[in-house]
């Protein structure tokens, strides 16, 4: 038996023994997600048990080095772990922008001191992070951001406003893009800096969305004092860090790991629409739409798997995450349109116990942001056109 097969066998046995049954079902609401942080509370005992067991094994971040709180797994082992978790339908123990976005950027660009200070806390879910990128006039054109960091001895004094800061009102720290050289060309004067959201001068204000939730905030900085040692990478070269991090954000938003768990769409639809005598969904056109969706979803799962394998083989294109982000988010929007159509009248309830507080329509509305956040679909297609296809102009 190869080492990898042994690892698979042991991993499966460990998951069977350690993952509580309640954590092997698809999430039903936001509160099923554990985000960690200074003020974190577990929504259930199984959620706590599952998180702590995974943390103790280093499997909140299975592929990070052990010295930073990770599991130290090789890429092939990491893939096995993901496959076994997916096969068992187990939930991720910790949702975290620190894991998905900041961590990879720190591993690549951080100083040893920065890695030691932040990575173990991210792995252990002690600090919840938010991302300060977008501003009211710097969305798709992110590099035109205006938040200023003025030098003052060993510190910067930060002034400005961010928007669409996901969960800023719950976050402990922020990773933030600021302009450190207003005279430079727009990509060249930006730095990537970390600071505590409890710092004097930081305030947040939630933004209510069409889904009825406020995952996003406006975030204001009024003379916030931050040590210069908190800059990640070189001063004025923050765009490199930002771009690298965006690749990870896009991979995360494309939702490659989340789908394919739970009941098949066709059966969800059959629950409300019904089936004919031969077992076929009693709405031929909807059935066709779901089947076409299932084809695309299965094909997308294959390309997600291949993307990992190509990266391992050193054959991947750095801009391919944009392709994944585009397709994954459009697919997710389609999925939720179908879910709404399949649910019919039942899916329209906004507030009731029966509808679990309107979970389905709220999730449907939430997905509309997928093709906007982290770079719009149009920006993704533009990146593919220029960086992969090498098309001229602009």
């Amino acid at each position: 038996m190869s080492d990898l097969e042994t690892f698979r066998r042991e991993t499966r046995a460990w998951l069977e023994a350690n993952c509580p049954p309640e954590m092997r079902r698809p999430m039903t609401s936001e509160s099923d997600t554990y985000w960690g942080g200074r003020n974190a509370k577990f929504s259930s005992e199984p959620q706590r048990v599952w998180f702590e067991r995974m943390r103790d094994k280093g499997w909140t971040v299975p592929d990070w080095p052990k010295e930073y709180g990770g599991g130290g797994l090789e890429p092939a082992e990491h893939k096995v772990l993901r496959e076994e978790m997916a096969a068992m339908g187990v939930r991720s123990p910790l949702s975290s922008f620190g894991i998905w976005m900041l961590g990879p950027a720190l591993l690549k660009y951080g100083t040893e001191a920065q890695k030691k200070e932040h990575l173990p806390d991210i792995a252990a879910g002690l600090i919840r992070w938010c991302q300060g990128y977008s501003e009211p006039n710097a969305g798709s054109d992110l590099a035109s951001l205006q938040t200023r960091a003025d030098s003052d001895g060993d510190d910067y004094i930060i002034n400005g406003q961010k928007i669409w800061t996901s969960y800023a009102n719950y976050a402990d720290w922020i990773f933030c893009l600021v302009r450190t050289d207003p005279a430079a060309k727009k990509h060249d004067g930006i730095s990537f800096i970390l600071f505590d959201m409890a710092s004097k001068g930081v305030s947040t204000k939630p933004i209510l969305l069409i889904s009825g939730y406020s995952p996003f905030c406006e975030t204001f900085f009024d003379n916030v004092r931050v040590p210069k040692s908190h800059v990640v990478g070189q001063v004025n070269r923050g765009w490199d860090v930002a771009k690298y991090l965006l690749q990870h954000e896009r991979a995360m938003i494309s939702g490659t790991g989340e789908r394919g768990i739970g009941r098949p769409l066709g059966q969800v639809a059959a629950d409300s629409v019904g089936s004919d005598d031969s077992g076929r969904l009693d709405d031929a056109v909807l059935r066709g739409q779901i089947a076409a969706f299932d084809i695309d979803e299965a094909a997308f799962a294959a390309v997600a798997e291949r993307a990992v394998d190509l990266a391992k083989a050193g054959q991947s294109h750095p801009a391919f995450s944009s392709a994944m982000k585009y397709y994954g988010t459009e697919l997710n929007k389609r999925r939720h349109e179908i879910l709404m159509s399949a649910g019919g009248i039942d899916a329209l309830e906004w507030e009731s116990e029966r509808s679990r507080g309107g979970a389905r329509p709220r999730a449907w509305l939430r997905t509309k942001a997928n093709s906007i956040e982290g770079g719009t679909s149009e920006v993704m297609l533009g990146i593919v056109a220029k960086r992969i296809l090498d098309l001229p102009g602009a």
Partner: protein
């Protein structure tokens, strides 16, 4: 199994691409079409294919082949898709070799497989009877007669039917149209009495035939596999064919796309390269993404066929459906973005459009396979 080619597989791709692009560019198909060539492919080139081991790719080693798998067959099919080289590869080296090696008895294997491997025997699989691919609807009757059977009925779109030395015919020995039980495969000599073969000139200038069977006598030893039990065998062989045709469509799509992107970088209108226009850039990017996704889905299906044959149906349906949709989009965008030039016969793009349409229909189009997947998932 990682979803990337191994070093050996990459070498196979390079050697196939070298031979095919050198000896059989699209102009090769064009000249066969224009001269109304009787054979419809180059026997000389098929000999070269056999010498490089391609015709025996799926033939087991003890019968003179190289005993490779569906991934390797797909690699060759993809290269065929790039130049649309007409050859008996699909009919003989993929379908017939698979059918015989999977379920032939020793006598049948010894008689045919070494000759498939050395390129001297051409074969064709005769399945469809109606306008659409419906393998369960097979209605060609095989009625017991003495020590054997008598075949009556007709087949349409028999790929390479007019050049075949051996026909593998799917017939009904029991049950009714629509049922899986009662299907039987027969090895039939195309020169047998009662067989009428009409070569059909197809839109894509590839080879196909309509074949009529009128009281054709076959012996019991011409049954491939078990009587009445051919349904599963046929489905397995068809799945290999579907994976192969999906690969051809990946090659075809990528070639058309490559030519189109090159054109976007060269053609000027309104004083600009047309590749500068965002409307075209975004459509090109979408198509690129679709092709990459299709490539992954097809490789996944081929690996599943090699690793877990009995359970490959869903992955194969995903691959064939996705490849059909992507190829259709690729050729449509190819013609559209080439403008009026794309509509001319002088330009090659039209050849790809025609071939893509045929590949869509072969062994089930995208709708057929979406329906199959829905059934497998129980809705």
């Amino acid at each position: 199994m990682p979803l990337v080619l191994t070093e050996e597989q990459s070498m196979l791709r390079d050697s196939a691409r070298g031979l095919i692009s050198d000896k059989a560019p699209v102009s090769h198909l064009r000249s066969l079409r224009d001269s109304k060539d009787e054979t419809g492919f180059s026997r000389e080139l098929w000999k070269a294919f056999a010498e490089m081991g391609f015709s025996g790719l799926l033939v087991p080693e003890n019968f003179g082949g190289s005993g490779l798998g569906c991934v390797e067959a797909g690699i060759v099919m993809e290269e065929i898709g790039r130049t649309l080289m007409p050859s008996p590869f699909l009919s003989t080296a993929v379908l017939a070799a698979s059918a015989l090696s999977r379920s032939g008895n020793d006598a049948q294997k010894s008689a045919h497989l070494p000759r498939i491997a050395d390129g001297s025997l051409l074969a064709a699989l005769a399945i469809d009877e109606g306008a659409k691919h419906r393998p369960l609807q097979i209605n060609l009757q095989a009625v017991r007669s003495g020590n054997g059977f008598k075949l009556n009925g007709a087949k349409a779109l028999v790929v390479d039917g007019h050049t075949a030395d051996l026909l593998i015919v799917a017939a009904r020995t029991g049950g009714a149209a629509g049922e899986r039980d009662g299907l039987t495969l027969f090895l039939v000599d195309p020169k047998a009495r009662g067989i009428a073969i009409e070569r059909t000139v197809m839109v894509d200038a590839h080879n196909a035939a309509r074949i009529e069977f009128s009281n054709v006598e076959v012996n019991a030893d011409q049954v491939l596999g078990e009587v009445d039990q051919g349904g599963a065998l046929l489905e397995g062989v068809l799945n290999i064919g579907r994976g192969a045709v999906a690969s051809e469509m990946v090659g075809l799509s990528e070639e058309v796309f490559g030519r189109t992107v090159t054109y976007l970088k060269e053609r000027k209108q309104f004083g600009k390269l047309i590749g500068e226009f965002q409307a075209l850039q975004h459509r090109a990017s979408q198509l690129y993404i679709d092709i990459e996704i299709t490539r992954a889905a097809v490789l996944k299906a081929l690996q599943t066929l090699d690793g877990d044959f009995e359970h490959a149906g869903a992955a194969v349906s995903v691959a064939k459906a996705k490849a059909g949709t992507t190829a259709t989009l690729a050729v449509q965008e190819g013609v559209q973005m080439h403008g009026g030039m794309g509509m001319t016969d002088q330009f090659d793009i039209g050849f790809f459009m025609k071939r893509a349409r045929v590949c869509q229909e072969l062994f089930g189009d995208s709708n057929y396979h979406a329906d199959q997947l829905a059934r497998m998932k129980g809705y």
